[in-house]
């Protein structure tokens, strides 16, 4: 599933990091939109 990230070119780093942050942002924005808050 994973990959040897240290060997990837710069453009791939930028693309993966952008996708990763986009995914996280969509997740929390979606939860916020639904009024869901997970708290411990």
């Amino acid at each position: 599933m994973g990959c040897y990230t240290l060997l990837l070119p710069n453009w791939a780093a930028l693309a993966i990091l952008s996708g990763y942050m986009l995914l996280l942002s969509l997740l929390v924005s979606g939860l916020q939109r639904l009024g869901v808050r997970v708290k411990v």
Binding site: Y4, T5, N10, S25, R37, V40
Partner: protein
Amino acid sequence: MALTPAEYRQLQLAAVTGFTGTFELEIVKVTSWFLWAVVLLSWAGLGGGRTAADRRPVFGFAAEFGILILPCIVLFLWPEQFLSVLGAATAAAVLLGRAGAVGGGKAALPEREGGGRVKKLAADAEQKSQHRGYVTNARATIMAMCTLGILAVDFAAFPRRFVKTETFGTSLMDVGVGTVIFSTAMMAARHYPGRPTAGSVTLWSATRSTLPLLVLGLARMVLVKGIGYQEHISEYGVHWNFFVTLGALPILLNLTYRLVSARHSLLLGLAVGSVYQAGLSLTGLQEFLLSAHRRGLLAMNKEGIASLAGYWSLALLSVDAGQVVFEVKNATAGRKADSPAWALGRRLVIYAVLYVGPKMGLALEPSRRLANFTFVTGSMLFSLLHLLGFLLIERLLPARWDGGSPALLRAVSANQLVFFLAVRMIVLMVVSEGSTLAT
């Protein structure tokens, strides 16, 4: 080039070992991005979240992500491009601002109004409990930077001077560790009034609230060993990790405030930090911690156990800052509220003196591994600089957003645990071994 898993593991370890950090000003430059971004969003009329006016949530979300997050990713990889990124982001903000005005939407992803009365009440309560937009902005951006750094470090494009330092020095990731403690402990100030008491938190509830972190710490240890991810044992030790430190601090704070008034957090924090530093410098503790000796369970985890004293000091100082932010001190002393900007500004000067003085005068280089005195004061300096930056923006620019924050930052701040759990899962999936992508 084909690497065996064992060879790649060595490469991973070499990519995080032996670094000495960078200049403080470079870290301030990179971390200041979010301050610039919030100014740009406000100036261009983007990042709304005013629920009645939100007609194009996707546009608003894209605008916020494009101005806040994307440039930050570029700066993490190529920090020398700061001015180019600022120029590009300004141009993008102008264009998006015009597009938003033409389309009649100035909104980011809004909270749904039809979510029912209970949800609305919960949202209102959340907003009232935070009720300071600059705090939300500071905490959310600290979390965003840390999550970005956690994955970015596994790419060669990430500058090695930003990687956690081996023993002494300051790096972007070192500052991230300190600011996460600050961000968490600052919020604890709301639970501890000015008398020696457990406040609104019992020891059991403090312990219970840390259980997820301790479980995460255990899970991380098992997973790291299971997937063959690099183990940098000189960071915290063989079994100890950051989650254990993060989980232990609320319990330590709870025990502390049973004995001492939380109003004395500033002096207490400085005293704990000073005594620990004296122990490091005068008793040979530092030599022991930096030695290769690892016989027995305590010695195996010596960095994690000893640095807890430094993180305890940092947490106490963060509670002091939180008392200023949430005006706990004034409320319990029955005084007229002092301006948080002035009170935090005074502390900023104190920490600047206590960082620069020992560093220049006593050659006391900051060390995250030891969590020594200059690491603690340096962490407070960076954290307060970040917090004060957002406070000044809030004071100088007219309030544009619900709750004083762009919707994306509110969302990150409201669900930090989900955010962090998702980060851990994604990072493990991306960096785990077994792929042949790069062979």
